[in-house]
Structure formats: C-alpha cells, structure tokens
Amino acid sequence: MIERVSLELIPVIVLFCGTSLVLAADEPRVLMWEQMIPASEMEPAPVLPGAEPDTVAPNELAIGGWTYGTEPVAELDGQLVRIPGFVVPLESDEGGLLDEFLLVPYAGACIHLPPPPPNQIVYVTLEEPYELTSMWDPFWITGTMHTEPYLGEIAQTVYRLSAIEIEDYEY
C-alpha cells in the first residue's frame, strides 16, 4: 500500500518540480540602468603623468556618433528582464494608444536635458498598446531584451525590448 501511494505521488512530484522550474525560469530579472553599461566602459581611463585631465565633456557629442556609451552588455541578449524607467512616446496605434517608445533613466530626456548615451536608452515595442497618462511618471517594463551592436555613424539601437507588461512604478 505504501508503494502504491508513493507510485501515485511520483507524477505529482514531477509536475510540481516541473512547474516550479518553469516559474523560476519565467521570473524576470530586475535590471538596473548601471547594469546596462558593459565593464569595458566602467573602467576609468588611465591617467598618464603630466597629461591633461579628460577634456571631452559628457555633453560633447561627436558629429554623427557618440564617443562613449555605444557598447551593450552582450549577455543581456534574450533575457527576460524587468526594468524601471521613463517613457518617451514614439508611435501610437490607430486608436491613439501608445505602441512604441523609448525608455530612459530620467524624465525630461526628450525636452531640456542632455540625451543619455545609446546604451542607456531602450527601444521598446508593446504587445498591447497602452494609454499613457504622463511622461513624468516612472513605469516598470517587463519583456525580452535584445542587444545589437552600434555601428558607428549609421546608428543602430543598442538595446531593444519586446515588452509584455507595463506597470506603474510605486515608490
């Protein structure tokens, strides 16, 4: 009788483990903006004795391209992530609902503040169009991240996200 009970329990156990594995795999990774900068760009430039400190101000943009911030973190490609940020609307669908947007780390990037570098911007496409109420409110965006190399003057998007969910950010 004990054997029978345990035999019947086996599929239950397998199902349970399987489900929890699947759920664990589906758990999106919470991503912070600093984690989107590759290690190669985090190193401070070596200071040579007698040399001038770095004179390229962060806001000085080389015409046609950026001098920094162009490398993605390659291992983020294909990962399910959850990232907070501010929405810069690009396209709406026929009903006027938001469809495509850029996600940036701070509000006002599209208006009066200097723009963030390419690896601090995510180009997001929404599966389900959303009614955006404010560009000044932060949101959590969940979806699969894709990375692409930034090809110099013919600028490509470095980070692309196919979003499955957009939620309000609670402080």
Binding site: C110, P114, L132, Q156, T157
Partner: protein, 423 residues
C-alpha cells in the same frame, strides 16, 4: 417570471397614463446621458484623429517657437509659424549621416480658405499617417511643372475641382484674401484619396511654385515695378531660400535624441526640433484637465436628470394613493406596489438612456463636418461600445436605486391605507 412581466406591463401603462410628465423626465435623462456620452466620444475621436495624422516621422524642425506650436502648425495646419528656416540650414541638417529622408514644407498661402503647402516629391514618397499608410492618388499624379498643384480629397470635393482645372493661390491663410497671385494660376494635376487627416484640406504645390508666385512680391505686396509674368518666371532660377519647417526620418530611432539636441543648439539660426510623439503627449496632458472637468460636469448633469425623475415620482405619490388602493383591491401585495415604482423608474431611465444614445449619434453626425473644418478632428460614427453599455447600466441602476425611496413610501402607504383611503 410572470409577475415581473406583469409588473413591467403595469408600469408601462402607468407611465403612459402620465405620458406628458414621463416624456419630460425621459427627455431630461436623455439630454444628460447624451452630454456624457458625447463628451467622451469626442474626446476619444479627437485623440485618435490627432494620433493618426502623422506616423514614422522622427523629428519635426522649425524656427524656434514652442513644442506645441510647431506641432500644430506644421502637421495640423492650426496656428502659424513666427519665422522661417533658411534653405542652407535645411541642406546642412538633412545631409547628416543619421538622416534617412527629409520633407521640406512651406506654409503661408491659401486657396479659398484651404491652406497651401509647398513641398517636393519626398512628401508623397515618405509621408505616413495612421500607423503606416502612404498617400495615394485618387486621380492624377504628383506635381512636376512649376505651376502644378495636387489637391487633398476634401478640397476637390467641396470646391468641385477636377484634373486640369485652374486655381488661384492667395497670400495669407484666411478664408478670403485681397492679395491674390492671380497672374500665375496653378493647374490641378493630382487629387489625393481621402485620409481622414488635415491633408484632405490642403492644396499641395512644389517649392518652385511658391518661389514663382513670390518672385515679384516684397513685404507682402506685389510690386508693379518688378512685376513678372508667368512665362518670364519660368525662365528664372526658382531655388527656394526659405522654408517654414521640415520633417526628418532617421536611420535609427535612438539617434533622434542626439540629433534633436544638436538642432536645438544649432549655431546658424535659432531652430527647434521636436519628437512628434512627445509633443502630442504634451498636448494630451495639457488638455487632460479640461477633459476631466468636462466629464465631471457631465456626470453632475446626469445626476440632476435623475433627481428630476425622483422628484416627479415623489410628487406623484400622493395622487396615486387611490390608484394603489385599487391595485390592492384586485390582489396586489404591498411589495408589488414597491416593484411597480421601481419598474417605473427603471423604464424611465432605460428609455432616457436609449433616447440619449440616439441623440448623441444624431448630433455627432450633424456636427462632424463642421468640426472637421474647424479643428481637423475627424469623428467617425461608431456603434455603441463598452463605455456606452457601462454608462447605460450605471444610469439605470442608479435610477432604480434612488427610486427605492418613493417605492418604500408607496409600500408603507399601501400597508397603512389598506383598501380604503381618505384622499
């Protein structure tokens, strides 16, 4: 339940007996519901209409004014620019490596109230609206010669123009102008298909055409001394020196940020670059306060309509005590009397809601052409959706709820009066 249908039947007859009062009550509910549904409908349609006017454009650039101003005059033909952009700045910016395509536009003239837009072939190639639709021709082709014009669908329909007709462009954007370019008529060579955007109400000509008609004009006046005929003008170099604004499509959407910044800091002249999506969102956020205020007012008006209904039922209670006694005499229980009052309220509200729905559809159909002309908002007549159903349910539910008060009164009266009453 047969008793429910009996009650409803009785309620219907009872209301018909007092049909004047009932009609007035229904009318007040109908008007208030129509107001609420109308406000919401126009809000939705305006949003959809504006959002679908332009698509796939990364930046709009013009002389430095303000975000909304630039968006409204360049895309929606509402408002005016305060200054122009030099052709040099345009050529410089459009030759940047990030730029995939560009569309120059020149505004300032009109034809019988319709705005004239000067542009080039890129307009027909690259302009997108309603997510990804391209401009298509109902007849004819894009302009080629200097004095060719392409009409939007509504211009041709309202003024009865066909291919080959001649039109005179006037200076300024008003409905009439006393400064016309009548020595240089344009020929209609193309008519666009209806788009449901301000394009339908625009006359398109080439930039060379705009230059040609202003060749002998200075300071908004045609100078007789330097007057040139149409033939003479065709011999001249018609390179544009200024345009009003231009649209840019970029090779990467992310590049919009940095290019926008460069244009805003352009040393050559004061320019402004906007992302159309962002500017539209700013427009909605500004308008949101007004929208919410309108919605709140509409809800108050519906409440007023329902209170009117409540008043009508309450005041009639006293006169109907004999009626209730008669009903009791033929076998009605007190709770039947309660149900009767509730059913009357429900019927009044339901009729009011239906009438309101019909009213809002009629009124929006009637004002749609006027609204289109005045503001570029295109209202489509749509069947009732989820919002309408929710409002209907809410109004009928609220009516039945508040009528519990007179229903309870009638119930108590029926109990107290029994079969004999002293009126």
């Amino acid at each position: 339940m047969s008793s429910l249908t009996t009650t409803l039947n009785l309620a219907g007859h009872s209301l018909y007996n007092r049909r004047v009062t009932a009609a007035l009550t229904i009318a007040s509910i109908a008007i208030s519901v129509a107001l609420l549904l109308g406000v919401e409908r126009i809000r939705e349609e305006a949003r959809t209409s504006f959002a679908s006017t332009i698509s796939g454009t990364d930046l709009i650039v013009g002389a430095r004014t303000g975000h909304l101003n630039l968006l409204l005059y360049s895309v929606f033909r509402i408002g005016n620019a305060t200054n122009n952009v030099t052709w040099e700045s345009f050529e410089d910016i459009r030759s940047r490596p990030e730029v995939a395509w560009s569309i120059p536009i020149s505004l300032g003239d009109s034809h019988r109230g319709f705005r004239v837009l000067g542009t080039n072939d890129d307009y027909f190639r690259h302009y997108r609206f309603s997510r990804s639709r391209q401009l298509e021709f109902a007849a004819g082709q894009p302009f080629d010669a200097v004095f060719d014009a392409v009409l939007g669908a509504d211009v041709a329909a309202e003024l009865g123009y066909e291919l080959g007709d001649e039109i005179i462009i006037a200076h300024g954007a008003g409905a009439a102008s006393f400064a016309e370019h009548d020595d240089k008529p344009f020929t209609v060579v193309g008519i666009l298909q209806k788009t449901g955007t301000p394009i339908d109400r625009t006359v398109h000509v080439g930039l060379a055409g705009i230059e040609a008609i202003h060749v002998d004009w200075e300071g908004g006046v045609q100078r007789p001394a330097s007057r040139r005929s149409a033939e003479e003008v065709l011999e001249m170099e018609l390179e544009p020196e200024e345009i009003t604004a231009f649209l840019l499509g970029l090779k990467s959407r992310v590049a919009a940020f940095s290019l926008q910044r460069q244009i805003n800091e352009y040393p050559g002249e004061p320019l402004l670059a906007i992302l159309p999506g962002v500017a539209l969102q700013q427009l909605w956020e500004m308008v949101r306060i007004v929208e919410n205020a309108l919605l709140a007012v509409s809800i108050c008006v519906v409440a007023a309509g329902l209170i009117g209904m409540l008043t009508a039922i309450l005041t009639s209670l006293n006169e109907r005590r004999r009626e209730m006694a008669i009903l009791r005499a033929v076998g009605a229980r007190p709770w039947h009397v309660l149900m009767l009052i509730l059913s009357e309220a429900g019927l009044l509200a339901a009729s009011g809601v239906l009438a309101g729905l019909a009213l809002v559809i009629l009124v929006t159909a009637a004002i749609a052409p006027w609204l289109e002309q005045q503001s570029g908002v295109f209202i489509t007549i749509q069947p009732p959706g989820v919002f309408e159903l929710v409002i209907a349910a809410a109004v009928i539910g609220a009516a039945v709820l508040i009528s519990l008060w007179p229903a309870w009164r009638a119930y108590r009266n029926a109990l107290a009066d029994g079969l004999t009453i002293r009126v």
